[in-house]
Subunit: 149 residues, 2 copies
């Protein structure tokens, strides 16, 4: 049951966007302090992680993978570059594209933080069970393909 005494959900509990926000927020309350301890925001971390998992990518791809809009990404990579965690260089074949790459410092910090993040994720998985969480991810994946009408 809900731990928040005197707080009851309104009918908005049937709202998918709010339900997703609430669930996401519950998890981030665990993840954020770990990232903050190392001086990273949630979004900066997503950028590093995506680059680590997929290797060098152009900004558009990173924006898509990390689910960050281009204008936000521009600022984020500006900071990550200044702090020397990533390097940025214009694509040789297409002058519009900007390629991003983790520096060695970036790879280092990534490997340093990842285990702490994994720990939390494992605790979540242990509590809710792999099956339920994979069902959740599957449905979320389907909904992600909603393209309005």
């Amino acid at each position: 049951m809900n731990k928040e005494v005197n707080k009851t959900y309104p009918d908005t509990s049937k709202s998918l966007p709010i339900a997703m926000l609430r669930a996401r927020e519950a998890m981030m309350l665990s993840f954020r302090p770990v990232l903050a301890k190392h001086g990273f925001t949630e979004q900066q971390w997503r950028v590093l992680r995506v680059l680590g998992e997929k290797g060098d990518s152009d900004a558009g791809q990173v924006a898509f993978d990390a689910c960050i809009l281009a204008p936000s990404l521009s600022r984020i990579i500006g900071k990550l570059e200044k702090d020397q965690y990533i390097s940025r260089f214009v694509d040789a074949k297409d002058g519009r594209r900007v390629n991003l790459s983790l520096t060695s410092a970036g790879k280092e910090i990534l490997n340093k933080i990842a285990p702490d993040v994994e720990l939390i994720y494992n605790a979540i998985q242990k509590r809710y069970g792999e099956e339920k969480l994979s069902t959740l991810i599957d449905i979320l994946g389907e909904v992600s393909e909603w393209r309005g009408r």
Copy 2:
């Protein structure tokens, strides 16, 4: 399948927070233009909706229901009050609390926009089916109670 050609999901597709963000974003791409047409942001709309569904509430309750942090809510209600959609008054019994209430203009705009929002939600429900979506909301509800380890 994914409509984004040349864009493939990294391993972050297994990340629950990112999956929720992506799914939520897909839906909001449909909802936001409707709200924007009436000059409201997503968050302002959540505040109006919560007040409409639960009636007058103090700021803390609204913050919880709308899933908005207190500092953000302070500014949001500042604007909504200025625009005369809500009224704000200090609680008589507890001077720390601020009670919020929809004005008649607030109720009016709420009733005006709600049907458009419902329309989209119904389309989503029609596409994915009530059962799947209710499974989704159920699991999200469980995960929302995660309180760290």
